[in-house]
């Protein structure tokens, strides 16, 4: 089947899924109910796709905006409700462990910055329904980074070096990653610029709550009851946007990307609107060689996720975003649903083989949008894997 025809099929097949996703993402009524009703089998497909893209909690919120007679069969609805409770419990547990980890580091004189993950959850109307992944921590200096790795090892916890130079370990059943870089860009000519950029940016305190935040909460923290919260440092609005964008680009070029990360980006643009200078971010994207990629990303966010154009950092022409959609639907959560992905596989050759296949699969995006960055990442990962082996 040709790419154009395949995309038309995708678009038609995925219409109910995207309608519910947009509705849950923005907590708004569905604009068009014409794709409904759908059959029992189609409902099961919507559920399976939601789980595959790790957006089942957002789509679950979308169900509340459907008229009663268009809801899924009760058996599936109950399954979704059970899943929503499981997500809430996981978020509660992850937030508790972030706090424990943060307290542990601070008491030892190390101050981590929370990257992505639960910091992204705080951008949603219902943070507890975002699927939580790993805990990603960034350390501002090499000394703090080394010290943090050492502190964990001294606890008797096995800590592994990854191909990209970061470290991971299991903390009370949750995967934690330590990063020495905040922004996932590997062009060596940018390192001085990024260093300067980060030095000039403050970090904010973010708040986490197990309960639902106010629907009209423009500020991330001010309207939430502080007694149920704890605080941890996160990057400022413009750096968070750069960090999310670069992270999505990295995965789109390499292992593959899932819809949850795109939803995070859309929510971040929406929630940070007015908290940063759009023109400043445009210049950052320009200097970091991300303009072409960002145009594709922004087109996807507005066309498929329903982000209003006024929330984008700057005006731009829309481009067809089908190639990004295709990569997302093919790979799912960080490419984990691409046919040959095996997370448990840690062998040198199988990892390398998977990575090369994955980069080849995503070549349409690399060639069009960020060839040099894709080259730098590939080189770094190959070197990292040689080091690992």
């Amino acid at each position: 089947m040709g790419a154009g025809r395949r995309m038309m099929e995708y678009t038609k097949e995925y219409t109910p899924f995207f309608s519910l996703l947009r509705s849950g993402l923005w907590e708004k009524d569905l604009i068009d109910l014409s794709p409904f009703p759908i059959s029992q089998e189609e409902w099961l497909e919507v559920y399976t796709r939601s789980c595959r893209q790790t957006v089942q909690g957002i789509v679950y919120r979308g169900l509340s905006y459907l008229p009663s007679q268009l809801l899924p069969p009760e058996e599936l609805l109950v399954r979704w409700m059970v899943e929503s409770v499981r997500l809430e419990e996981n978020n509660k547990r992850t937030n508790k462990e972030i706090m424990a980890l943060y307290t542990f580091f601070v008491s030892n004189g190390v101050h981590p910055i929370l990257k992505k993950g639960q910091a992204a959850a705080a951008l949603y109307e219902v943070p507890s329904l975002r699927v939580c992944g790993d805990i990603d921590l960034y350390f501002r200096t090499k000394e703090e980074y080394k010290c943090a790795n050492l502190l964990i090892a001294r606890q008797g916890i096995e800590i592994h070096r990854r191909a990209d130079g970061s470290y991971d370990y299991n903390w009370h059943g949750i995967e934690v990653e330590h990063h020495a870089t905040l922004v996932d860009l590997r062009n060596p000519f940018l390192s001085a610029y990024l260093k300067k950029l980060l030095q000039g940016n403050d970090f904010d305190e973010n708040y986490f709550s197990e309960s639902r935040s106010s629907k009209n909460d423009e500020n991330r923290s001010s309207k939430i009851n502080e007694s149920s919260l704890y605080k941890i440092e996160v990057p400022s609005a413009s750096i968070t946007l750069l960090m999310f964008n670069a992270h999505i680009m990295k995965h789109a070029l390499l292992s593959g990307i899932g819809l949850r990360q795109l939803c995070d980006m859309a929510r971040a643009y929406y929630r940070f609107s007015g908290l940063y200078q759009g023109e400043e971010l445009r210049l950052i994207y320009q200097k970091t060689g991300m303009m072409k990629w960002s145009r594709l990303l922004h087109s996807f966010l507005t066309e498929y996720l329903g982000l209003e154009k006024k929330y984008l950092p700057y005006e731009q022409d829309t481009v067809p975003a089908e190639k990004l959609l295709e990569a997302i639907l093919r790979g799912g959560n960080f490419g984990q649903h691409a046919g040959d992905y095996n997370r448990k596989e840690r062998g040198y050759f199988s990892k390398k083989n998977y990575m090369i296949k994955s980069i080849y699969r995503n070549r349409r995006i690399s060639l069009d949008c960020a060839l040099f960055e894709a080259f730098c990442w590939t080189a770094e990962l190959i070197c990292g894997q040689i080091h690992e082996s």
Partner: protein, 89 residues
């Protein structure tokens, strides 16, 4: 008496369920279907102590039904809740 806070209420339109949040196995989770009145009780009683007579009075106020009938309905409901571990003394 108070409700068991491990059970979480889920409402979508006119579907009301409570789900046990303590069970780990996805396919082995206790789920109970509630009617609209029971779901209303559940959401308003969270974290509070209550008695059958208090609930019967609330039911009379909300639905305008006779006290005796409300009390009988509430007692039957609470008996079930206690039996299934949804509420505790």
């Amino acid at each position: 008496m108070k409700i068991n806070e491990n059970f979480k209420l889920r409402i979508i339109k006119d579907h009301y369920f409570i789900v046990d949040s303590t069970q780990k196995e996805e396919n082995m989770v206790d789920v109970y279907k509630l009617n609209e009145a029971a779901a209303w009780f559940w959401s308003t009683l969270s974290g509070k102590e209550f008695t059958a007579t208090m609930l019967a009075e609330c039911l009379c106020d909300r639905y305008g039904i006779a006290y005796e009938r409300a009390l009988a309905d509430v007692e039957t409901m609470l008996e079930d809740w206690l039996k299934w571990g949804l509420a505790e003394e």
